[in-house]
């Protein structure tokens, strides 16, 4: 998945934005639930209140024997007397004709459902058109007059919804206000915390900028725990990069300088070409060989400095590399009929570049195939938590300590070396040292040389 540039722009903005959305959803849901439960309890309270008012209305009614009607000389609630009070009442006969209406109901029209049998209670709502609407309750009862005549009457109480709705509005307003203030406070707090948390990142950025402009050599110390690894790796990377640049520079300078001598020799030889006796091609060829060796050495050395180190490299399985090299060497030196024993765990890993490992082992194994007498053994053992020793042995003539140290250091004294003396071991030495390891040459139990490479494992 690709991040949009805006989202990728700032960690702080991403955290704050995500949290703001989360708060909005959370608070929105909370407000909705609270309001819903408030509405439910308000509805219950309203129903109970209507019921009470209805009962009070019935209790306050008095019979008018002459007309066989009912009257309410003293309404149970004073509000029924004043218009616009929001509390209204009405008493109707069984056939729907009103016998009494509260003065507050002036101009109001109640839509009544069928009265039902005596004893029937009803509650319902009536939309108010432009007004707030009404909540109504009715009860039909049989009224027994003094003379024993029974007449059905319907008592109706209506209450404006306005106060209830006002209550809900006020509640909602309060809720949103408080929650909004809370969300804003949370975000502000978080922004403050993030600012503090992110400060080291800003510092790293600043220090990197300083390094780019050359004001700083490497990152300072004292980073929080989470950044310590990054800072250390970055410093290691920088150090290695500087080392590499240094080596390239040195290689280039060495290369140029060391080529000057054979070039001068060739020029001198060519100047004397018309001499008697004429200079042989062999002399020029010898100089060319020398130049070739110098170029080969410096090139391999510069390449060796390439990726030494462990940052950003997947560990390389050692056993397959050994097998590949053994197969290659068998193909190149078929008449040597080398029997090669590989005693290396499949799990063994080298922490570094695969090409470097091939280069080191290739050179060492090439020697074993060339100078051995047909038997080669490659074995490995772990010598420290992140370090292993790889041992390549043959049954040839071997190297005495003086020869060994000469072979390991040969690259450095290239001008003195004679053709036929390989630079393979010297290249291995350079590479292994670049990985912080070491090369030892010992006498093998097989009779020949045992070359031991100590390398970082992983």
């Amino acid at each position: 998945m690709t991040e949009s540039p805006a989202a990728a722009g700032s960690l702080r903005r991403r955290v704050l934005l995500s949290l703001a959305v989360a708060l909005l959803v959370f608070f929105g849901a909370t407000v909705a639930v609270l309001e819903w439960s408030l509405a439910a309890s308000l509805a219950r309270a309203r129903a109970e209140l209507l019921e009470t008012q209805l009962m009070a209305l019935i209790a306050a009614a008095e019979p008018v024997e002459e007309t066989r009607g009912l009257d309410l000389p003293e309404p149970p609630d004073g509000r029924m007397l004043s218009p616009d009070s929001g509390l209204h009442a009405e008493i109707l006969r069984g056939d729907g004709r009103p016998v009494w209406r509260s003065p507050s109901a002036l101009g109001l029209e109640f839509s009544l459902p069928p009265p039902g049998e005596p004893g029937t209670r009803r509650q319902w709502m009536q939309a108010g058109g432009e007004g707030p609407g009404l909540a109504l309750a009715s009860m039909t009862i049989d009224w027994e007059f003094d003379d024993g005549v029974v007449e059905p009457f319907r008592f109706v109480v209506a209450q404006s919804l306005e106060p209830w709705q006002a209550q809900r509005r006020a509640f909602r307003l309060g809720l949103v206000g408080w929650f909004g203030a809370l969300a804003a406070a949370t975000l502000a707090l978080l922004a403050f915390v993030l600012r503090r948390v992110m400060r080291p990142l800003g510092r790293i950025e600043q220090e990197i900028r300083e390094m780019e402009t050359g004001q700083r050599e490497q990152l300072s110390a004292g980073w929080p725990e989470e950044l310590r690894g990054v800072a250390a790796n970055l410093n290691a990377l920088l150090r290695r990069e500087r080392d590499r640049q240094q080596r390239y520079k040195e290689s280039l300078a060495n290369l140029a300088h060391s080529l000057k001598t054979p070039l001068a020799a060739v020029r001198a030889l060519l100047t004397g070409a018309d001499r008697e006796p004429p200079v042989g091609r062999d002399a020029i060829r010898a100089e060319l060989t020398r130049m070739d060796r110098i170029v080969a050495w410096q090139l391999r050395r510069a390449a060796a400095a390439g990726v030494a180190g462990s940052v950003g490299l997947a560990p390389v399985a050692v056993a397959p590399v050994l097998r590949d090299l053994a197969a290659t060497l068998d193909k190149v030196y078929p008449e040597r009929r080398v029997r090669c024993e590989l005693d290396v765990s499949e799990a063994l890993r080298f922490r570094g570049d695969e090409g470097d490992l091939q280069e080191m082992l290739g050179n060492v194994m090439d020697n074993a195939w060339k100078y051995g007498d047909g038997r080669v053994r490659c074995s490995a053992q772990s010598i420290a938590p992140e370090r292993f020793a790889l041992r390549v042995e043959d049954d040839g003539a071997g190297l005495d300590p003086a020869q060994a140290s000469d072979a390991l250091a040969r690259g450095a004294r290239l001008d003195e070396s004679r053709p036929g003396q390989g630079i393979g071991l010297a290249v291995v030495n350079e590479l292994v040292r670049a990985y912080g390891g070491e090369v030892r040459v010992e006498r093998s139990a097989l009779g020949g040389a045992a070359v031991i490479l100590v390398l970082p494992g992983g």
Binding site: D292, L325, T328, K331, P334, G355, Q358, E359
Partner: protein
């Protein structure tokens, strides 16, 4: 012997081809991989020398294509990169040997000699037929321990037959492998040289190393000793 040399650097190619011709090779040259593959299929060389960095088709691709075609002729790669990673990759792709530039032409010739010898089934540098012994690397022939003096052409003719010991080699194949293309195929030089070889290798007439199979060609008839 016929070799195919695929190398895009003109100076190097010409220099190598000249050195190889001087050593008795028939050399087909190509400057790019695609043409090289075509020539490898057309001319049926005894050995192919391939530079890894070629235009149109890389050396590695050329080798892979050759091997995919089921051709098991020996292949030697030339590379300017002196790294084991590249050597391993080249030999895994199907090459049989490698040379890192720059190199001496003599070294290349010795390697080619060894490759051809090996592909003929000889893993050891000395081809032993009892009374007759051949050492291709040194272009040396011994009869009963004494060196036999051969001209360059005589040696090449003999080597071609010896590496195919027991097989019939036709006269036209010999001409194709040992002479330039503009050689007059009707001349009887081959017969003349075979006659000379017989006299030099078998002065007493007892050994009979080279048989003539009328209408079919020649065969080196001695049985190898200690061949694996």
């Amino acid at each position: 012997m016929r070799a195919l040399l695929v190398e895009d650097d003109e100076n190097l190619r010409h220099g190598l081809a000249a050195a190889m011709r001087a050593a008795g090779w028939q050399v087909d040259e190509s400057a790019d991989g695609a043409e090289g593959l075509y020539l490898a299929e057309e001319t049926a060389p005894d050995v192919v020398i391939v530079d890894l960095g070629l235009p149109k088709m890389s050396g590695m691709e050329l080798i892979t294509a050759l091997r995919a075609d089921g051709r098991d002729l020996p292949v030697l790669i030339l590379t300017a990169r002196d790294s084991w990673q590249e050597k391993v990759a080249g030999l895994k792709a199907g090459a049989d040997d490698y040379m890192v530039k720059p190199f001496h032409a003599e070294e290349l010739l010795a390697r080619l000699e060894a490759l051809v010898r090996r592909s003929a089934g000889w893993s050891q540098p000395v081809l032993d037929f009892g009374a007759l012994r051949f050492e291709p690397a040194a272009q040396r022939v011994e009869l009963d321990g004494e060196p036999v003096e051969l001209t360059s052409f005589e040696y090449r003719l003999l080597e071609y037959l010896v590496l195919r010991a027991g097989q019939v080699v036709s006269r036209s194949e010999l001409i194709d492998r040992l002479y330039d293309q503009d050689y007059d195929r009707d001349s009887n030089t081959v017969e003349v040289f075979i006659g000379r070889l017989r006299r030099k290798l078998d002065p007493a007439g007892k050994l009979k190393p080279i048989e003539t199979l009328r209408g079919r060609g020649y065969r080196f008839a001695l049985a190898p000793v200690g061949r694996d």
